[in-house]
Symmetry: C2
Subunit: 231 residues, 2 copies
């Protein structure tokens, strides 16, 4: 009987982690599709991203409900409590990544109607691929329970910021050079900002993974930063 309870408790913890990993896979896929959609000016793909977003919201709600249930009924301590809290927080960060990908998809629908700007698309794509890699790496760290890999992502946070800063300047230069591009560039400013924020969520997840495994907080104040206009 006791073993059954222990087994089922472990099952619950594993189910929670698995739900988080699944959410991570969906968030990766939404981000990849959103970047492809904006770069290729593909409204059909953007629409697919918009339609998929509900699934991420549902899984996040499910992770939270399972985590609360587990905390209330199983009273996890120490490692298990950290694991439970980590799943809940990672799910929340991933759901936000999904929202940001959805916003990129919505802007794609507007941008697809406007003249293409190939040079800017290439810059967006480069930044997009970098952010995709960060999200993938931090999910790998979570799945493999590897705090060092998580810290690798954390330490490289500034690379995304640098891309964002250079894209910000590039967009402003474009707008000044040709005021007809202002509307498109304003949307691309937010696309770039959304990518930067997804990078920031990857960094948050890295901190959560590190704390989950080691029990030691990484101070956000120590985070390497190259841009002082982040939010």
């Amino acid at each position: 009987m006791n073993e059954h309870i222990v087994k089922s408790y472990e099952d619950e913890l594993n189910t929670l982690g698995a739900a988080c990993v699944r959410l991570g896979g969906l968030a990766e896929s939404q981000l990849g599709d959103a970047v492809d959609a904006v770069v290729r000016r593909d409204p059909a793909l953007a629409t697919k991203v918009l339609q998929q977003d509900d699934r991420l919201d549902e899984i996040e709600a499910d992770v939270e409900q399972k985590a609360i249930r587990l905390i209330a009924l199983r009273q996890p301590m120490a490692n298990d409590l950290r694991k439970t809290m980590a799943a809940m927080k990672i799910a929340s960060n991933l759901e936000r990544c999904g929202d940001l990908a959805k916003n990129i998809a919505k802007r794609t629908l507007v941008l697809s109607e406007i003249e293409p700007m190939p040079a800017l698309s290439r810059s967006i794509e480069r930044m997009g691929r970098l952010v995709e890699a960060r999200l993938k790496e931090v999910l790998d760290a979570y799945i493999s329970n590897d705090p060092d890999r998580a810290m690798d992502v954390w330490r490289r946070d500034h690379e995304v910021d640098e891309h964002y800063n250079s894209l910000f300047r590039e967009l402003l230069t474009y707008m000044m050079g040709d005021p007809r591009t202002i509307t498109a560039c304003a949307h691309l400013l937010f696309v770039a900002k959304n990518l930067e924020r997804i990078g920031d969520h990857a960094t948050n997840i890295a901190e959560i993974v590190h704390y989950e495994i080691t029990g030691e907080q990484v101070s956000p104040a120590d985070r390497p930063r190259s841009d002082d206009l982040q939010a």
Copy 2:
């Protein structure tokens, strides 16, 4: 002895709520100062906002730690669990409001160096005051345990969105009319976006307060929306 335990448990719950209320007061004050700073082009006030932000981060971390401790050691059920989770989530939303106010303050330092644009400042101020009012109202609802007041805030989410949309158009018109304003307007676009996001956090808090008190989820899908470019 039993009464002592019950008393102390209630004390812990109340302390948690009080920490959240204090964080709310600080977030309100940071937002008010950030709006004043950007409108009055006051770098000294902006610097004060930047310096205060750490306090919000500390209180949020404290609320989370207290909440986890309470869950682990007291195993709260039903109402008390909802109260504990609500405090943790509200604190997280308020800390994000603080981050967004900080970002407005950072942009104020840049904007103070650039030519003033009085018409835009007035629009930013109007939107800022509206968002301040929303945050104040939802904190009142939390303090007075009033789900109806929370739902009033929730139902009026679209007013902030409408202000944001009109400000977005106004800023683009400005940029097109005078390309020399592009850098300033790009920063003001993000100031407006930050205010819109603080409004969104107020709406999130309204949902959390409603759930905390009634045990019934409000579906974010039912939220009245006037802008489809939110994130």
